[in-house]
């Protein structure tokens, strides 16, 4: 490493330094594009003066939108940093700036080290090419040299578990194989700094786990990782430090536990946006949570029934889809209703409609929870709606009402959230049954 005489030791430690970074988009730009060139040329030729005036006005009319502004931060070599935030908060813009896909409007980024960025797995995969050919192509697109790919070729193939299909065009692959191959190439990048977007939201659970482990390895080798995700779980597992971006601004930056806790508290009041899959013509319009009286509700007591109501608009009829609903807390998944297992799937979804799932007597401690949803096609292999948060709720109560007497009962807020009924059998013959079921609740009149 050459000695930068101008850099002090603290500076040399930094892998990424971001100063006052901002990115502005013109919202009007989108509309001007629709006019097309004919309009632009025609009006310019006809009345040049008026055209200039109109253009100036147009520029004034354009609404400037700062996707990201005033962000300053420093990431040290070897840090594994998670970036979280709601949809449209500016996470992806930050990644695009870091990976040089787009140029900042103001501010600067200094990156010290070989960067690889991964905003999508399988970028540039060509369906007509074989797995072998795509490994080379994709590797080159991600910045690997030919010799590097050759060296890692066997590892990649092994990781992807596709050896017998190596010389089959990828258009004949199942989507699972495709994703595995795509991630395998990406996982064998060998950068000093790795910038990763939500790439883990693909593939089946066991492969996701493998990917996470691989990311953990990269991080463990003292390399710098910047990781963006909606999947707070993954962020928690991988990162020590978390940055929360909100409305284009750096909202919080600190210890993973703290920031994620705050994030969960905050996100509960937000409404999750509708999700659309154009290929399958399915719109997931809304996911509503209801209590046992059928009222819309976001705060439950332990032992309450929780009904998750899914409002969909199936523009193309969708036959025998699999729906998976899981309840996850800030410590991970709690329980789920999974049609892949129970097989009780609807015959067909067509037009607008709703279906719901009632979770009986939720045995959860007072914490914040997310309802996650995933919809797969009739084969169970393709994600129509990939796993994502669909709604949030909290459980709140005084645990004393359920017979809790512990001095440290406050720790229930960070404890393992699911409680199956249990009973202590003590030496003196006392039996102490504990349960979060509604029946065990002491109805106090307040």
């Amino acid at each position: 490493m050459p000695n930068h005489s101008f850099a002090n030791s603290a500076k040399r430690e930094a892998a990424i330094t971001i100063e006052n970074l901002g990115k502005k988009y013109h919202i009007g730009q989108q509309r001007a594009k629709d006019d097309g060139m004919r309009h632009v040329i025609e009006s310019a030729v006809r009345t040049p003066l008026a055209w200039f005036r109109a253009r100036r006005q147009e520029r004034l009319k354009q609404v400037d939108f700062w996707a990201l502004r005033g962000v300053s931060l420093e990431i040290k070599r070897g840090d594994v940093v998670g970036i979280i935030g709601g949809n449209g908060a500016g996470k992806s813009t930050l990644l695009k700036l870091l990976s040089r896909i787009t140029v900042p409007t103001e501010g600067r980024i200094r990156i010290d080290g070989r960067v690889a960025s991964l905003l999508e797995v399988g970028t540039g995969f060509h369906p007509e090419l074989t797995g072998r050919e795509n490994i080379f192509l994709n590797g080159a697109i991600l910045g690997m040299s030919r010799s590097e790919i050759l060296r890692k070729f066997d590892q990649i193939v092994e990781f992807a578990e596709i050896d017998e299909f190596l010389d089959t065009p990828v258009k004949r692959y199942s989507s699972g194989m495709y994703v595995r191959l795509a991630f395998a190439v990406a996982a064998h990048l060998d950068p000093e700094i790795l910038i990763v977007d939500e790439v883990l939201a693909v593939g089946d659970a066991s492969f996701q786990k493998k990917c996470l482990a691989q990311m953990g390895n990269i991080a463990g080798e003292g390399r710098t990782v910047v990781f963006v995700s909606h999947n707070v779980e993954a962020v928690r597992t991988l990162c020590q430090r978390v940055i929360w971006i909100k409305d284009g601004l750096l909202h919080r930056d600190g210890e993973a536990e703290e920031v994620i806790g705050d994030y969960f508290d905050n996100i509960i009041i937000e409404k999750v946006q509708a999700v659309t899959n154009r290929d399958f013509g399915l719109i997931l319009e809304d996911v509503v949570l209801r209590n046992e009286h059928g009222e819309e509700c976001r705060e439950f007591k332990p032992g309450d029934d929780l009904t998750v109501e899914i409002h969909y608009d199936a523009q193309k009829s969708l036959e025998r889809p699999y729906i998976i609903l899981s309840i996850s807390g800030n410590n991970g998944g709690c329980f789920a209703a999974n049609m892949l297992l129970d097989g009780r799937r609807p015959e067909v979804l067509s037009g607008r409609g709703k279906l719901s799932c009632r979770f009986r007597s939720i045995p959860l401690y007072p914490q914040k929870y997310a309802v996650r949803i995933c919809i797969r096609d009739g084969n169970g292999s393709d994600n129509i709606i990939p796993y994502q948060d669909a709604a949030y709720f909290s459980v709140a109560c005084d645990l004393a009402d359920y017979g809790y007497q512990g001095q440290f009962v406050g720790r229930a807020a960070t404890s393992t959230p699911v409680v199956v009924p249990y009973e202590w059998h003590l030496p003196d013959g006392t039996i102490a049954p504990m349960s979060l079921e509604a029946a065990s609740r002491v109805v106090t009149t307040r």
């Binding site: 980024i109 010290d112 030919r146």
Partner: protein, 272 residues
């Protein structure tokens, strides 16, 4: 250790270094296109020969037989093929280079590499096609027992001009198409008219002398004339003002194309 500085107005410095770093990708893109191009076609690579062959036959019939254009002592098919090769190289690779960014929009918005690599790789792969069909020309020359003159030594110059003009126009088209998809509809017209405005099916000596300079403003005129002169050594020699205009024109197109591409490249991912 590589240090990278990203600022709103100074990405410039790394650009040349990046172009060099991504040279392998340039070859990979060309290799991909070469692999993909004739997949699921029946006659495959033969298309490389069929296209110029058919064009040659049609133009020979239309201009040579029906139009009774002068051939200057050269077999008419040979005359036409000498014009067809550079013209097809220009029109096809300009079109493909122009489409390159829009066709790979997902890549442009998801991963960084100098976009120039992608556009330029289209030129490279068409150059391969060009040399394949060039062999065909060589065979045809043997068939007609046609021996090239010393002028063939100038061929590399005109090859360079041809590549330069194609790359220059390709860069313009690619960058413009990101913003204005209208270009996609304009290009086929330009190609269609260009076929008649360039001396593909006829010799440029048939153009009246007083219009010759005006006619030569199309840089492809100088380039195609040059090809013909190098390979067939046409009697009257080369029209030098035409070549001069072609050299100046190609330089202008190339420099301006490069400038415009670089200027707009930074916003490609935002508007594509």
């Amino acid at each position: 250790m590589t240090e990278l500085l990203i600022e709103s107005d100074r990405v410039e410095q790394q650009y040349w270094r990046d172009l060099w770093r991504y040279r392998e990708l340039f070859l990979f893109f060309a290799w991909r296109d070469l692999l993909v191009r004739y997949k699921q076609t029946v006659v495959g690579i033969s298309w490389t020969l069929i296209r110029p062959l058919l064009t040659m036959i049609i133009l020979t019939v239309v201009f040579g037989r029906l139009g009774k254009m002068p051939a200057g002592g050269v077999p008419y098919p040979l005359l036409v093929l000498c014009g067809t090769l550079p013209w097809q190289f220009f029109s096809i690779s300009m079109f493909e280079a122009g489409e390159s960014l829009v066709a790979n929009a997902s890549m442009v918005s998801k991963v960084y590499f100098p976009r120039l690599v992608m556009t330029a790789s289209k030129i490279l792969i068409n150059l391969v096609d060009f040399f394949v069909s060039f062999c065909f020309l060589a065979i045809l020359m043997l068939w007609y027992r046609y021996v090239p003159h010393m002028a063939i030594l100038f061929l590399p110059l005109f090859l360079l001009l041809m590549i330069g003009a194609t790359l220059g126009v390709g860069l313009w088209v690619a960058a413009l198409m990101v913003q204005y998809r209208d270009i996609r509809f304009i290009v086929p017209f330009v190609v269609q008219f260009g076929l008649y405005l360039s001396p593909v099916g006829y010799q440029s000596s048939v153009v009246p002398a007083k219009f010759r300079l005006l006619y030569s403003l199309n840089p492809m005129v100088g380039i195609i004339d040059g090809f013909r002169w190098c390979l067939l050594g046409t009697k009257e020699g080369i029209y030098l003002p035409g070549v001069a205009i072609a050299i100046v024109g190609v330089t202008l197109i190339l420099v301006s194309g490069f400038w415009y591409f670089r200027k707009t490249e930074r916003t490609f991912a935002d508007i594509i």
